[in-house]
């Protein structure tokens, strides 16, 4: 039997996930009222129908992939060179963004934005650190001017709250 490709496992995983959402998460997350108008569709009905459709579609993707892999002799999928490094870089990037979100009140958006720009810039290959700092400073200043001074958005400033 030929090696099953990514779509088969993706479909299966998604079908399990959507099925779980439909049968476990939705009943917990959505409460149906006791009394209601006879014509009223209950809050849980529509999301459950959509999730059941998602489950069926995911299963269809899986079955289609299985059918195609049985029909054709596929060469084993070659992984792109550096796929591990792509996944690591993506995980690192998202990790930094999530850390920014969780510490946003402590460090503030200006300092946080400064760090985020510097981090992603270095990750993207920038090695001219003077240019990095200059662009970062100008960018944060402009963002502060626009969002705080002009738009009066109450952005968390963290330690800069007392200074600005």
């Amino acid at each position: 039997m030929t090696k099953l490709n990514t779509d088969f496992w993706l479909g299966l995983l998604l079908a399990i996930f959507f099925g779980s959402v439909s049968y476990f998460l939705i009943p917990i997350g959505i409460t149906n009222p006791v009394a209601h108008d006879p014509g009223a569709i209950l809050p849980r009905t529509y999301p459950q129908i959509v999730m059941i459709c998602c489950t069926l579609l995911a299963l269809s993707i899986s079955l289609k992939s299985l059918y195609l892999s049985l029909r054709h002799t596929n060469a084993a999928e070659t992984t792109a060179c550096g796929i591990f490094s792509k996944a690591c870089l993506s995980a690192l990037g998202f990790g930094v963004l999530l850390a920014f979100y969780f510490y946003i009140e402590e460090i503030g958006m200006i300092i946080g934005g400064f760090i985020i720009y510097a981090f992603f810039s270095i990750l993207s290959g920038e090695r001219n650190f003077i240019r990095l700092i200059i662009i970062d400073s100008i960018l944060m200043s402009l963002l502060y001017l626009f969002f705080v001074s002009i738009m009066n958005a109450p952005i968390p400033l963290g330690p800069l709250n007392e200074i600005l």
């Binding site: 009223a40 550096g82 490094s85 993506s90 990037g93 979100y101 992603f120 969002f147 952005i155």
Partner: protein
């Protein structure tokens, strides 16, 4: 009538009004281009400043911002795959691949021409057909809306690329995420798990930025031999006569679609853009090139979204009913100056109405000037190396996402949708159907449930009027064509 037109001309033909319109247009383009900022936000910011202006001057300023923001979103959508507005998300599909092929100038120019054309068509519709279109819009009840939304959802087939199943899955996921929030009938929380931030549902702009911009920014950190670099210049920016002829039908069709959907309150520009794109692909002789840098795709998307601009003013002026959030704010501007939109507006303030019409026609010309200037600025953006450009975009996206509701939770939504976007890219699941499902989902469910409530559970309300039957026929035809095209492509 001639006297009213002349009074209107006298009212509009002052340097303050012309300056207000032009500066509003320019500001609107900038606001539309920045991710996280919308035309509605720009108009809301400008509203207090208009208090001391003459009514027509304030309306010109707000109109300029509205129209500018509609076009502005397409600039960043094309150049850096970061749509500034929801409607511009459709332009990304073919706009960004054109940039990767070194044809950024061509894409920007076609977006500009089709925007100006569609805007002019929309303005003419407003001037000539306000009464007729408004009376048609009044005939739309929940059942008719539901039929229209079901038809609009069939455009998912045209946006699914090579895998219809993955497209449908993506759209269904969008429909599901749109259910998070408060139930519209019973007022109970759905999938909020006690988190008050989710009671209002997921904000659209963070979802949009997360789905389109964040994966692109993450990709920019990958080793360079795994990322497709694009030409860092505008390239050949002239549109050939052949390309123009090929796209013209789609531009006209998109403009009409934009006018029709814009005149119906509550629909918005994004569904118009996607419907226009889907119809262009359906009737094109080059279906297989859509999604890979087809200039006709850019033209159709922009025609659809700009065709809405003038038409959204139809329900506002004729009925006093705002068509979307932006026109709702403009209604505030009218009322600030003691002008009540509606049927009596045409009798009591006919000179103002004609001044507005003349200003609207002038706005199409100013849109061309502002757009042409932005193409030159766009040339500078393409020269910025990606290692500087994408990290700059990221803080702008973060600040923009935060400023929607001044809530850090929207940043988390943006990040999570970024992860979803990356996974969708990895497993080749198209994002556009997700966006369609997310935008149309609330309208789909709301109108279905309202119809069921009105009919006390009798489902026959969904096919009870000629308008419903019209949309059912269109839906069946659309599904048939999608299946037929799918068989042709796989055969």
């Amino acid at each position: 009538m001639i006297e009213s037109i002349l009074s209107g001309l006298a009212l509009i033909a002052t340097w303050e009004n012309v300056l207000a319109l032009f500066s509003g247009m320019l500001g609107g383009v900038v606001i539309g281009a920045l991710p996280g900022l919308t035309g509605a936000m720009g108009i809301t910011l400008a509203l207090p400043f208009t208090f001391y202006m003459e009514p027509i001057t304030s309306l010109m300023l707000l109109l300029g911002i509205y129209k500018g923001s509609m076009y502005g979103g397409s600039i960043t959508a094309i150049l850096i795959r970061t749509p500034g507005t929801a409607a511009a998300s459709c332009t990304v599909i073919d706009g960004y691949p054109l940039v990767q092929q070194g044809k950024a100038g061509k894409a920007l120019r076609m977006a500009l021409y089709s925007s100006c054309f569609a805007d002019a068509v929309s303005n003419l519709s407003l001037i000539l057909f306000t009464g007729f279109i408004a009376s048609m819009a009044l005939k739309f009840g929940p059942a008719e809306f539901f039929g229209l939304i079901v038809f609009s959802l069939t455009i998912v087939g045209g946006l699914s690329g090579s895998s219809l199943l993955k497209g449908l899955l993506s759209a269904s996921l969008g429909l599901f995420l749109a259910t998070i929030g408060m139930d519209i009938v019973f007022g109970t929380g759905r999938m909020t798990f006690g988190n008050t931030n989710l009671l209002a549902g997921l904000s659209f702009i963070p979802v949009l930025i997360g789905l389109f911009a964040i994966p692109q920014i993450i990709k920019s950190t990958w080793p360079k031999n795994t990322v497709t670099e694009f030409e860092d210049h505008l390239g050949d920016d002239k549109i050939s006569w052949q390309e123009w002829c090929r796209s013209f039908k789609s531009i006209v069709r998109g403009s009409i679609i934009g006018v029709i959907l814009g005149a119906i309150p509550g629909i918005g520009a994004a569904p118009a853009a996607y419907l226009s794109y889907s119809e262009a692909k359906r009737y094109s002789k080059h279906k297989e090139t859509f999604g890979k840098g087809e200039i006709e795709g850019v033209a159709a998307a922009e025609a659809g979204n700009n065709g809405v601009c003038g038409a959204t003013l139809i329900p506002l002026l004729a009925l006093g009913v705002p068509g979307d959030v932006t026109t709702a704010v403009m209604l505030g501007a009218f009322m600030m100056h003691n002008i009540i939109p509606g049927p009596q507006l045409f009798e009591e303030h006919s000179d103002l109405v004609y001044a507005l019409y003349l200003g609207i026609m002038l706005s199409s010309f100013f849109l061309y000037i502002c757009g042409a200037a932005c193409i030159k600025i766009g040339a500078k953006i393409t020269k910025v190396p990606s290692k500087i450009l994408f990290p700059v975009i990221l803080p702008i996206c973060i600040f923009g996402a935060y400023s929607i509701n001044n809530n850090p939770f929207d940043i988390l939504v943006m990040i999570i949708m970024g992860i979803v976007g990356c996974l969708m890219n990895t497993f080749k699941i198209p994002e556009a159907p997700f966006l369609i499902g997310f935008i149309l989902g609330p309208l789909f469910e709301d109108n279905l449930r309202r119809s069921m409530l009105m009919s006390h559970g009798n489902i026959s309300i969904l096919w009870s009027t000629p308008i419903c039957w019209f949309f059912i026929a269109l839906t069946i035809f659309s599904i048939y064509i999608t299946i037929k095209n799918g068989k042709q492509l796989s055969g």
